[in-house]
């Protein structure tokens, strides 16, 4: 008994140490965002910020070469459109792939699973060619449309709908619904949890995306990740502004994450990946 208590204590000590390590990068962002440059490059490591006011924020907002406000707007538009589009397209397809089992459906499932294996990042060169051919470079269409056909989201929805009780839909069909109206009136309202889970994954992925936006989002549609990346490699990089920018960019996703984490955990554990 005493030995068990000892090991439980060890377990908590290990957990606390690991938790501190995992939180360290966040603390560094906050510290640097509210520090003078001298505090950041100090010869001895300073654990605390020395400038707890909005000086860094003001100079970041005034830095036109970063253009953080505009980039934030662009990222928000892109993330919302991409999340809405992906959910709509994948919800419909995932439902059909779970409910219909004829040959065309199996072929379609095969095409989806193949795309799951070959991630879009691998084919970014030809995807960019197609987007350029359509004249979509530096437009929201170019940023969003090629990315919303997600095999991953479709697959997660399909796995979820395999376990969805068919009796509910059968009853609504008897009551005069057709498959389309039954889908929107019965199935979707009962699937909010998985929609929130997939939506969270897509939203975070869209906000954090770098490779595709760096190719397509040039000037008018430059996103926050691209703006920060260009700022960090530029000659005139100033650490306090760079980290203040990081703080502003990461904060919305942390809030989204904390609020929707429950759905995310549920979605990942009950459907799909098992």
């Amino acid at each position: 008994m005493r030995q068990q208590k000892f090991w439980l204590g060890v377990r908590y000590v290990v957990l606390v140490i690991l938790a501190l390590i995992f939180m360290l990068p966040f603390w560094v962002i906050v510290r640097n965002a509210f520090s003078t440059n001298a505090n950041i490059v100090s010869a001895t490591w300073q654990w605390f910020p020395d400038q707890l006011n909005l000086t860094n924020l003001r100079s970041l907002l005034e830095n036109d070469s970063v253009g953080i406000l505009r980039a934030l707007g662009n990222s928000a538009i892109m993330a919302v459109l991409q999340t809405g589009g992906t959910i709509l397209v994948s919800l419909l397809a995932g439902y059909a792939l779970a409910r219909y089992t004829h040959r065309a459906s199996k072929l379609m499932l095969g095409l989806t699973l193949f795309t799951l294996m070959v991630p879009v990042a691998t084919i970014f060169v030809p995807m960019f060619i197609i987007t350029a051919q359509l004249g979509w470079v530096d437009t929201f269409r170019g940023l969003v449309v090629p990315t919303i056909f997600s095999a991953f989201a479709t697959y997660l929805f399909r796995q979820y709908f395999l376990d969805f009780p068919e009796e509910l839909e059968d009853a609504s069909l008897v009551d005069g619904c057709n498959p389309w109206t039954s889908f929107w009136r019965i199935v979707v309202p009962n699937s909010k949890g998985i929609i929130a889970a997939v939506g969270t994954i897509v939203l975070i992925g869209a906000w954090n995306a770098f490779l595709w936006p760096s190719l397509v989002g040039r000037d008018a549609t430059r996103t926050v990740q691209v703006a920060l990346s260009q700022f960090m490699t530029s000659q005139g990089v100033r650490y306090p502004e760079l980290f203040m920018g990081s703080l502003i960019v990461v904060a919305p996703m942390l809030v989204v994450f904390l609020f929707l984490q429950r759905y995310l955990v549920q979605g990942l554990t009950t459907s799909g990946l098992r």
Binding site: W45, M117, I123, V125, N178, W184, W207, V250, T269
Partner: protein
């Protein structure tokens, strides 16, 4: 959404024209038509933005196409032989292998370790789970900023250099390429970002193991390490396989943290180039814009990743029988 459009898709009476073919096409109670209506947006998008690009790059890979998306001159397999003789391309494949050998086992062991630490924890489980899971919400760009300028900065103010000099050692140039230590930064940043995600999957796997299995094993006198070795790991096999496959696919796509931690204005060092970074530099970055070679590179990478998947399935099927 629009409920009114539905009746126009499937006409109620197919009595006009040739009923036989029409009836077979639309299926019992119009099943095929409903199926088509549901999958059409996804199917069309998949064709336009995944399959058409793959076909187009296969076509383009046999042509010269510099600074243009249109083929200018047929060159046969020249683009492929160029790439396979390109030392940097071969090296990029080796870089992926080395990176995968580091990152896949370490992430798996780390996430399994966290999952085991949290499993059946009475007090504070949700809190610690959130702490380890939350880096999932951070982008590789921001993590790269922290790693490059705060932890692994080559200057004396970098956290690691401070620790080393405080212990009496010499300042280390972590990312400069004068040594191989940039791997420490590349692996640790990815570990921080993705371990929590896989921990969640593994916790779910652990919770699906029936409690009776443990009780039965405990009655037989198994405990500690033997429980893990003979009960937990075998029962966790399906989840582990999925986790490792996802880790491999993700390692293959590595781009963001390499590009942002090692690149500088418009240039990238010749070392530590994973395949996607090298392809990016050939096809769209660095002013070369050689899309013929880019197409060939895409085909080679796609072939490699498909072979991976097929190989994985093959091994799985054999070990299951």
């Amino acid at each position: 959404m629009s409920n009114a459009t539905s009746s126009t898709i499937a006409p109620a009476s197919p009595s006009t024209g040739r009923p036989g073919l029409w009836r077979r096409l639309r299926g019992h109670q119009g099943r095929n038509l409903w199926f088509a209506a549901f999958v059409a947006p996804f199917l069309l998008g998949l064709m336009a933005f995944v399959y058409l690009p793959i076909v187009w790059s296969a076509y383009l890979s046999f042509f010269e196409a510099r600074n243009t998306v249109n083929p200018t001159r047929f060159v046969g397999l020249d683009n492929y032989t160029y790439l396979l003789n390109d030392g940097l391309f071969i090296q990029s494949l080796l870089t992926f292998v080395a990176f995968a050998l580091f990152i896949v086992p370490t992430t798996y062991v780390a996430s399994l370790g966290l999952a085991l630490l949290l499993n059946n924890l009475r007090w504070g489980q949700a809190f610690f789970r959130s702490v380890f899971f939350i880096p999932t919400a951070v982008s590789y760009v921001i993590a790269a900023i922290v790693w490059r300028f705060a932890f692994f900065s080559g200057a004396r103010f970098g956290l690691l250099n401070q620790a080393i000099t405080a212990a009496g050692g010499d300042q280390v140039n972590w990312l400069g390429g004068t040594n191989d230590l940039y791997w420490v930064a590349l692996v640790s940043v990815r570990l921080w970002l993705q371990t929590g995600f896989y921990m969640i999957l593994l916790i779910a796997g652990l919770q699906r193991i029936p409690q009776e299995t443990y009780e039965a094993a405990a009655l037989d006198g198994a405990a500690g390490w033997r429980l893990l070795r003979f009960i937990t790991l075998p029962q966790l096999k399906a989840t582990s396989v999925a986790v490792i496959l996802l880790l491999l696919i993700n390692a293959f796509q590595a781009f963001d943290e390499f590009y942002n931690m090692l690149g500088s204005i418009g240039s990238y060092p010749p070392y530590a180039r994973p395949p996607l970074v090298h392809l990016y530099l050939i096809a769209v970055g660095g002013g070369q814009q050689d899309l013929g070679v880019g197409g060939a590179g895409t085909m080679i990478l796609t072939a490699i990743i498909v072979l991976f998947g097929v190989g994985q399935n093959f091994i799985l099927n054999r070990s299951n029988t």
